[in-house]
């Protein structure tokens, strides 16, 4: 009888002490990051069966547990992973945006100044000053291409080191989580099933840190070890065994860093495509969506500008009467070929730019693969392919295969990735700027130079199509009887009926021109070499017109428009990433609030608990006193 009352009192004192200790622990850790508030679970002692029925035997502490909800925790992790992924993406994307859109150091002002210099040469073709200025602006343009690409390369190096650091950080966390798993399983065992709260808190904190780096999902095993999966379900920790996360060189382009997972002592397997969310996911998305495409697009711009300018420059004539040569020197796309061949294969690949179809050039990598009978070239940006057995012409390039190929042979080609770096000016003498047309049109004149044509016909818009097809001088005499123009020997050249054909555009002997008006019978026109024609600016005008010609993307955009589209695309992605960040930040705050609502310490609440448990302790102490008084009474009764 007596012992049970004392037992109840002491049991209560002990229980209240534990409760007060737990409350004190909560108060002390109110500002500890990752601390989950703890609560003492009080439960009744087993009641005693007496003749009067079941009598309660007091209170005992069943355990101390965390106020924790795995679902809230996983929501918090998910929104933090999304938020940090967006913030990393936005941070790096902003840097690219700042490089490209800078109104002073971007490519746009350099291209404007270059074409303004071309116009100056058109305005004054014999001026050595204007020509020299053009060469100087061309040099500045090339420098600017290199500068912009160089800054992207610098960003690439930042990316590489940031990725390496993040992966090594994530790997450390994975190893630590696995070690904690072991500790926790042992702690559960040693405590007979009681949760090791501080170890559990510590493990949750590590998983949250990992969420900042990559998206994490977890599954708790029956033995309380936590299985951790990253990204799209890649196993990082299974039970007590961690895998190793590390940075590996890509294949076949070894300079491209990838993330790999090594299980046990085997070779690492590339998992970059499966890693989403967090800093690592944000970095990888950034590289795939912005960094590499931007380098490719700038390179493509350099090649299209250079090749188109060269094509037109070769149609002109310089101050010394020579046909123009290449104005720019372009990169060699064959320099960036990565073979991935089957054993014993001797396959080779050479890639050249095709100036005639250069407007088809895309900003993409390409993969050529052999299936046993033919080669297929795939444009990696959207998967379009073209197949053939001989040389394949695709997207403004010619792919020439050689050697003996085996099925499964592959080549990776990056034709434009380094084009901006390698662009150079090929002309160093201002006299070699081909501003004039190499041909001119003369109407027939007599011995005194007086024009003799009687009709009203005029031939205008003389342009060069193919200098290799010239056959000069080209005499064109109109014969009314046959309604056509003939050469000096009576051979027909082209028909012309003033009533129905005017104006008529004709391409003949490598030149094109427009005929209009009504020629009289015997009227004669000659297209001859433009010797001494240094004041002619025909080719300079044509070169200047390249600024507003649709040269890029299958003849749909001008150089400026293509650059503007690139800036705009990066800008939109940056803005979207910022918007995603803002909304994910709000979601993360909400998830944090919901999490803290359950697991956070409220000091006022703990203060109230202190009062509560203190009163209960005082009351239990009173019971002891009462019991003592009862016992004294009993003793007094039997003295």
């Amino acid at each position: 009888m007596g012992s049970s009352i004392l037992g109840i009192a002491t049991g209560s004192l002990i229980a209240m002490q534990r409760a007060l200790a737990t409350t004190g622990n909560n108060i002390a850790n109110a500002n500890t990051e990752g601390y989950t508030r703890q609560r003492v679970d009080l439960t009744i002692q087993t009641p005693q069966l007496t003749g009067a029925g079941y009598v309660g035997t007091g209170v005992r502490v069943e355990g101390v547990r965390r106020l924790y909800d795995a679902f809230l925790e996983s929501q918090l992790r998910a929104s933090i992973a999304a938020r940090d992924g967006a913030s990393t993406y936005a941070e790096f994307a902003s840097q690219v945006d700042n490089i490209l859109a800078d109104p002073n150091t971007g490519l746009a002002p350099a291209m404007e100044q270059f074409f303004a210099a071309v116009q100056q040469v058109a305005d004054d073709p014999t001026s050595m000053e204007a020509r020299g200025q053009l060469l100087s602006q061309a040099g500045a343009l090339v420098d600017r291409f290199r500068y912009v690409d160089g800054r992207l390369v610098g960003l690439q190096r930042d990316f590489d080191s940031t990725l390496t650091e993040a992966v090594s950080q994530a790997n450390r966390l994975i190893q630590d989580i696995a070690a904690l798993n072991e500790d926790i399983v042992r702690a559960y065992g040693a405590a007979g099933g009681q949760p090791p709260n501080d170890l559990l808190d510590k493990r949750d904190r590590l998983v949250l840190e990992l969420s900042k780096l990559v998206k994490v999902t977890t599954v708790e095993q029956d033995d309380h070890a936590l299985n951790v999966f990253i990204g799209k379900g890649q196993a990082a920790v299974i039970g007590l065994t961690p895998n190793t996360l590390e940075v590996i060189p890509g294949s076949p382009d070894g300079s491209r860093l990838e993330v790999g997972i090594r299980t046990g002592s085997g070779a690492p397997v590339r998992v970059s495509e499966n890693l989403t969310g967090g800093k690592i996911g944000g970095l990888l998305d950034f590289r795939r969506q912005i960094l590499e495409p931007s380098r490719d697009r700038i390179g493509r711009l350099a090649v299209v500008l250079g090749a188109s300018f060269n094509l037109q420059h070769r149609r002109g004539q310089d101050l010394d009467g020579n046909l123009g040569g290449d104005f720019f020197r372009l990169n060699n796309p064959s320099d960036r070929i990565f073979p991935d061949l089957q054993g014993g294969s001797t396959a080779t690949l050479a890639v050249q730019f095709d100036p005639a179809t250069i407007t088809e050039l895309r900003a993409s990598e390409y993969r050529a693969s052999f299936d046993g009978t033919q080669w297929t070239v795939e444009r990696l940006s959207d998967g379009t392919t073209r197949s053939g057995t001989g040389p394949i012409t695709f997207d403004g390039m010619t792919f020439t295969f050689g050697g003996a190929a085996k099925a499964g042979d592959r080549f990776l080609v990056q034709p434009v990735r380094y084009a901006a770096q390698d662009l150079a000016v090929a002309v160093n003498d201002a006299r070699q700027v081909a501003a004039a047309l190499p041909v001119r049109l003369e109407e027939a004149v007599d011995a005194n130079g007086v024009p003799t044509n009687q009709g009203t016909a005029a031939i205008t818009d003389l342009a060069v199509v193919d200098p290799g097809a010239f056959s000069l001088p080209m005499t064109m005499i109109y014969r009314q009887s046959t309604g056509r123009f003939e050469d000096g020997s009576g051979n027909p050249l082209f028909t012309y009926d003033p009533a129905t054909d005017a104006p008529k555009t004709v391409t003949l002997g490598g030149v094109s021109f427009t005929v209009q008006g009504a020629p009289a019978d015997g009227d004669r026109f000659v297209i001859e070499a433009n010797s001494g024609g240094v004041g002619d600016n025909g080719n300079a005008l044509a070169l200047a017109a390249l600024q507003t010609a649709p040269l890029v993307d299958g003849a749909s955009a001008t150089l400026g428009e293509s650059y503007g589209q690139m800036v705009s695309d990066v800008g939109i992605r940056t803005r979207d990433a910022n918007m995603v960040f803002d909304s994910q930040e709000a979601l993360a705050r909400q998830a944090q609030d919901r999490h803290d609502a359950l697991s956070g310490v409220n000091l006022d609440e703990e203060a109230a608990n202190l009062m509560r448990f203190q009163q209960a302790y005082q009351a239990a102490a009173r019971i002891v006193h009462v019991f003592d008084a009862m016992f004294q009474s009993l003793l007094d009764a039997v003295r």
Partner: protein
Amino acid sequence: MRISSFQIYRHGLEGILDQQSGIDRLQRQLSSGKRFSLPSEAPVEASQVLSFKERSARVKQYQNNILQARNRLGLEESAVGAAVDVVQRVRELTVQGLNGTNSLQDRKAIAAELRQRLDELLEIANTRDPNGEYLFAGGRSRTRPFVHDGTGRFTYAGDQGVRALRISDTRTVRIGHSGTDVFLSAPGSGKSAFSTLYQVAADMEAGTPNAASLDDIDAVLDHLLQVQAEIGARQQALDAQEAINADYLLGVETARSRIEDTDFASASIEYQRRLIAIQAAQQAFVKVNGLSLFNFL
């Protein structure tokens, strides 16, 4: 919903920090006059501004081309005007010389002046611009176009080319005429201006001026006047395009300013508003964080 103590603190702090970053952004806008200092702050607007600047630069180059074209046409206009004066004087002299009251001596004197006028016309035809290019040599602008061998043989060493300049995305304007066009072509007579003047001078020297040569002179004169008219038309085209370009530049500049420049009125108002908000947030933070049950235990 239950709130933890840390949450109370964090919410209050986040409010203050958010207001601070907003105030910082507004301060930068007000002091720099630009809505954004880095393109990444307003990426879509930044790319629009870039496109405006590109168009604006190109049209400014066209205005520059127009200036150069106007200079060239002005030179040509003076030269052709001088040529017209010469030919008109020749006509006067010819009419005077045709008069029967002239003696042979008189006619020889007139012939001498006629020969001087011919030389003058030759000089005009060989005019050079300040850079040293011959105005009337076509594309062969560094070669002296007109040569007289002294015996009535005139050779033209230029060609029939004409230079054009671009004054808009869609228009070019020719800034000259070839020597053939101005001085060798005289529809109606089939003779060049020089041959006609030489012939008149030779006939006058011999004392047998030909009344029919007046027709030839008129043909030359008419053609020169027509060239003048063409020059005038081109100059008008330049003026018209210059005005169009100027309007376009103004429009682009206005659009750019609307996007890029700070709207000071609304920025100042928002700045004031945020100052009040941050003060309120700070005071609320202090108040709320001072409340605790432990103050009463």
